[in-house]
Symmetry: D3
Subunit: 234 residues, 6 copies
C-alpha cells in the first residue's frame, strides 16, 4: 500500500477532477491524504465556515469507513498562492510527514493563477522533500523522501482537450465522486454561476470513460513514462 | 489470462525488440503466440533451414517449461510484404484462430518496407477479424473477435528516439531475451555486418529500464489511452 | 454559399460524427452533398434494403425543407475499399459534378480499414479533381475544380482523444442530428451490439460543446491553418 | 461589437506583430485598446519623449477616423517587468475598466524577459479580473469580467517558426500596419541595428498570408479550441 | 565528397523547393544527381518537349561549370505514380547506380498524390537498395548500398507551416535558384495560373532564411536525429 | 573560434550531461568556460572543500593541455536558486565578461528546482546581456553582446526520454568525460546513493551515440531551428 498525497489549490479542486480516483485508491487500502493549500475563500456565495463544513462532508463521501481519507489545510492565502521557497518547503514538510510516494498535482496548463503556482510549488517540493541535512516545516521529524511519481490531474478552468497518459476507471466509485462534488453547494448550487457544473463533470467522466471502454473515467498525465510489470491495464 | 499475438515481419524481429516482454507474459501464464509473416530469407549469411532452426531455438529460450510460446509462420514473401486484402485476411484468420485479445505490431515509423507494410496489415486485420458473416482463411472455425488492444513495439532499423507510452520491466527475463537474441547467429554472429547488435540491444534495454527505475526495460506505444484500475504501474 | 461535399465510407458515418454540422450548413443555405462510398452491408442486423431506407430517413432528418441535403452512393465494395487510382478518379468525378469547394473526410487515424482507405482516396481525389486535360468518371462535363479546404471529421472506431482544430457549435441542430442517428436502427437498435451508441454520441457532443462554451459541439481537424477575416469564432 | 485589449510589453510590440489585425478590428467597429506595459525606454537611439511621439503616430496610423484605437500605458518599468501580484492586479484593473472580452498577449515562447513576464501576468490577470469581492487598481468601478478568449501573438525576438492556430487576413490593412511600423524610426530607422526590420516584417506577413491564400496575414495561437458557428473562415 | 540523390516526382519540384541547396552542394564539390520520376506532363501550358528543354535549362542554372549536376528521368507515368514494388526497385536501382549516400525526398504531408506516392517509394527504396543477393533494375552492376541519410524537403502544394529540423543557408546560390525556377516558364509564366509563384518562392526563402539569420534559406526535415562533430551550424 | 559558456546549477551538472562535448569543443580550440551557479553543497557526503577539489580535478580532466577550460563559480545559494533580476544580471555579467556567443543551459523540463530556476535565469540573461546603456555586475567593462545560440542540455533528474534536436559525437572524448565524472566521488562514489550513476551515464552516452551511428553521443535541444551551410552533420 502506498502513501498518496493529492495537492489541491482550493478545497473542491481534488473532488471535481479526481474524486473517483481518490475514493478508489482509499477503497484499495492506500493511505490517502488531500492537502488543500488554501481555504478557497472568498467566493461569491461561500464563507470560511461553509466551505470547511462542505469540505468535511466531501471528505466523508470519498472515504470508505475502514480507511478514511485524511485532509490537511496548509493555510496559504487564496487567490495569492505564490511559487516561492517558503511555500515549497511547507508542502515538502507535508510530503515528509505523510511519507508520500505518489503525488497528484494540477496540470501545468490552467487558467487559474493559484493552480499554476501550485503546480510549480509541488514540482519543486517533490525534490525539496528529499534534500538531506535540512528539516522542513511541519515534517514532524519524518525523514527525507523522494516521491517516485508525480501525476498531473486536469483542473477545469481552461477549456483544453486533455491528452491523457492514462485514464483511471472510476466506475466503482462514481457515486462517491458525485456525492463529494454535491457537497460543495456554496460553489455549484442552483443559486450560483456554476449551477450546471456537476452535470458537466459527469459528462467529462463519461467521455473519458468511453475512451477506455468503461462507464466513467478520470484522465491523468505523467511526464516520465509509465513502467509496467505486466498487462496491468485495460 | 489473455491470448496475446505478437506479429513480426521476420523471425528475429519479435525477439530483438520485445523478447523480454514475451518471456515475461508467458511466465505470467498468458497464452502467447508469435506470428512471423515471412521466413526472413534471403539474408547475407542465412538460409531457410538455418533460420528455421534458429527460430526454434529462440522460441525455446523465451518459453517457460510449463507454458511454451506458440509460433506460426504465415508464409508471406520476404522483402515483398504488401498491404493488401489477402494479407490482411490471412492475419485476421490467425487472430481468430488463437482468439487474440492483445496484438503487438511494429511501430508505424520504420525504415524497413516489410515492417511498414506489416504494420498496416495488422492495423487493418485487427478490424477485419471482427467482421460478421465472413470467414477468414485459417480461422479454423473460430468466431469473429475484436482485440481490445493493439500495441506498437519499436523495431531497430530507423534511428529515432522512441517516445514510449509505457516501458515494460523485463529485469526478470533479461537472460531469456539474451538467449533468444543469441540464437540468431546467422544474423548477428561475429561474421556478419551486425556483429555488435546484441550488445547494442542490451544498451537499449538498460537505457529504457533506467527511465522507469529498473535494470532493463522495453518501450511500447499505444494510440488509444491506457486504462487503469489502480496504481498498477511503477 | 458554398458547395460542400461530405465523404463517408459507409452510410451512417457522416451522421454519427458530423450530423449536426451537416444540418447546420444546410440550414445556412449551403449546397450540401453526402457521398457514401459503399452501401455499408453486410452488417450483423442490416440488409441493403434496410440500410437504404434508413439512409433516406436520416438524410431527411438532416434536411431543412427549403434546402434538402443531396446524397450519392458511389457503389464501392464495403469492407474492401482500396486506395487506388480508379477509386480516386470516381471520387474526383463527384467533386467536379457538384463543384465542391469544401470537403469533409474521415480523420487519418482510425481503426476501420475502409476509413483509412477512404481518407487517402479523398486526399488524392481533391488534387485529381483539378487536373487539366483529363475527364473524370461521372463528372457530367463539369470543369476541373480544386476544393479550397479539406476538413477531417473524427470517426468513432479508434478510442483516441481528438485534438480538434475547431469545434462546430451544433446546439441549433442537435435534434436533427439525434433524429438522423436514430434512423439507423439496424446498426444501433436495442437488439444490436451498439445499443448504447446513440447515448455515447450525445455525450461526445456535450463534451466537445463544453470546450467552447456551448451545449453541443462536433470536433474537426485541418492540416492547413485556418484563415480568418475577423473575430468570426467563439 | 467586442471590447478588445491588446497587451504589449513595450510600445511597438503590438504594431510589429499584429498591427494589421488591430487596424482591421477597429475598422470593423470593435472597441480596441492597446495597453503598453512600459514606455520601452531606454533603447540605443530612443528617448521617452521620442517614443511617446512615435506611439501616438502609430496609434493614429492604425485608427480609422470614426473609431480610433485607445491606448494606455501602465507605467511598469522597462527591462524589469516582473510576474507578481501587483502587476497582475494592475492589468486586471484595465481589463475591467475597458470590460475586455478578448485579450491578445505575447506568445509563451520568446527571448525577451519582459515578454515572458508579460505573458504570465496577462494569463493570470485574465482570471484575476473575474474575482468577486475584490476591487482592482484602476478599474474605475467597473464590475468583474472574464474575457472569453486569450489569444497569443508571436513577437519577433525568438527565431522559431510559429505553428499558428489561425492566420488573420490583413490584406485590407497592410498599409495601416506599414505606416504604424514606420512610425518607430527611433527603433528601426536606417541609423539603428534594426534597419532591415520593416522589410523583414513585410516578408513575414506575406509568408503567413500565403498559407491561407491571401496577400498578407498575421499568425495567432490559442490553447483552447476555436468554436465556430458556420464556415466563417477561409 | 558525398554522392547526393534528389528525387523529384516531376521536373521543377526539386528546383522550386531546394534549388538553392542543390546549387550549393554542387559548388561544394559533391556529386549531385536529380532523379525526376516522371516527365511532368500533361500540364495546362506544357508539352513533353518544352518541359524537357526547361529541365535542361534549369539543370544548367544549378550547375557550376566544373561540377555539373546530373539528371535522370525514371519514366514513371505522371499523375499516376504508385507506391509499388516495381517503382521501389527502379528507384533503388538508381540509388545503387550513383552509389548515393544522401537522399532528398518530398515531405510526407503533401496535397499532390504523386508526391505522397513518391515519398513512400523513396523511403522503401532506401532500404531496398541495400538488400543482398538481389539485383535492381538499372543498377549497372553497382553493389548494394544503404544511404546514411534520408532528408525531406517541403513541396509547395499543401499550405502547412513546416517545422524544419534545419534550414540550409542558400544566400550564396539564390541567383542560381532563381534562374532555375525561371526556366520553367511553361509552368509559372505570366500566361499561367501560377504567375505569382516565383515571387512567392522568394518570399519563402527569405522567411526561412530569417529564422537562422541569413538572407535566404530552405527548410528540411529529418526523422532520425542529426549527428554533429562540432559547432558546425549557425 | 567561439566563446562558449556552459551554465550549470551545481558543479558536476555540466560534466554529467555534456562532459564529452565540453572536452571536444576545447580540443577544437574554442574558448570554453563553465559557470557553476552554486557550490552544490550541502550534499549527503560532500563538503565545500571536497566539492571544490573535485571540480578542479574534473575541469582538468576535460581540458586539453594547450587550451584549458575556464571555470567560474557565481556564488548563488545551493537549493535556493531563484529566478530574479539580480541573478539574471549576474549571469549576464559573466556572458559579457567572456563575450560568449554560445550558451549551454539546462533543459526546461527537469525535477530539480535549482535547474528549472537556472534555465529561466539563463534564458533571460541571454537577452539582458545585450541591453544597451546598462552595466552588468562583473562584466569587467566588456560591451553588450547577444549570444547567437542558446542550447539546452538534458540533466538527469527527471526520467523523460529526450527528443534531441541533435546529438554530439563524443567518441573522441569519452575518456575525458569518464574521468571528469569520476572526479566527483563525494557524489557518486560507492558509499553514496548514486553509486551506479557513472555506469548509467555511460549507457546513456552509448544509447544516444547509437542514434547517429557512433560509439558515444550527448543529446541537445534548440528551440530555434539549426542553420546549415552544407552537409556538416553525420
Amino acid at each position: 500500500m502506498a502513501s498518496i498525497l493529492i495537492i489541491a489549490p482550493h478545497p473542491d479542486d481534488a473532488e471535481f477532477t479526481m474524486g473517483g480516483t481518490i475514493a478508489l485508491l482509499a477503497r484499495q487500502g492506500h493511505h490517502v491524504t488531500i492537502l488543500d493549500l488554501t481555504d478557497g475563500e472568498p467566493t461569491p456565495h461561500g464563507s470560511i465556515e461553509t466551505r470547511a463544513r462542505e469540505t468535511l462532508q466531501a471528505t466523508a463521501a470519498l472515504s470508505p469507513p475502514e480507511n478514511p481519507v485524511a485532509r490537511i489545510n496548509l493555510g496559504l492565502r487564496n487567490r495569492q498562492i505564490t511559487h516561492d521557497l517558503a511555500s515549497r518547503y511547507r508542502v515538502a514538510g507535508v510530503i515528509r510527514r505523510v511519507q508520500a510516494t505518489i503525488l497528484f498535482v494540477p496540470y501545468f496548463e490552467d487558467a487559474h493563477p493559484d493552480h499554476l503556482a501550485a503546480t510549480r510549488i509541488c514540482e519543486d517540493a517533490r525534490f525539496d522533500a528529499k534534500l538531506s541535512k535540512l528539516a522542513m516545516p511541519g515534517d514532524e521529524g519524518q525523514p527525507p523522501i523522494h516521491p517516485t511519481r508525480l501525476i498531473y490531474y486536469f483542473a477545469t478552468h481552461l477549456k483544453i482537450v486533455p491528452q491523457p497518459s492514462f485514464i483511471m476507471d472510476i466506475t466503482p466509485t462514481i457515486e462517491a465522486r458525485r456525492a463529494a462534488i454535491a457537497a460543495y453547494q456554496s460553489q455549484i448550487g442552483p443559486h450560483t454561476a456554476n449551477a450546471g457544473l456537476a452535470a458537466r463533470l459527469d459528462i467529462e467522466a463519461e467521455y473519458f470513460g468511453s475512451r477506455v471502454g468503461v462507464a466513467f473515467g478520470e484522465p491523468f498525465f505523467v511526464r516520465e513514462p509509465l513502467g509496467m510489470t505486466g498487462l496491468t491495464f485495460r
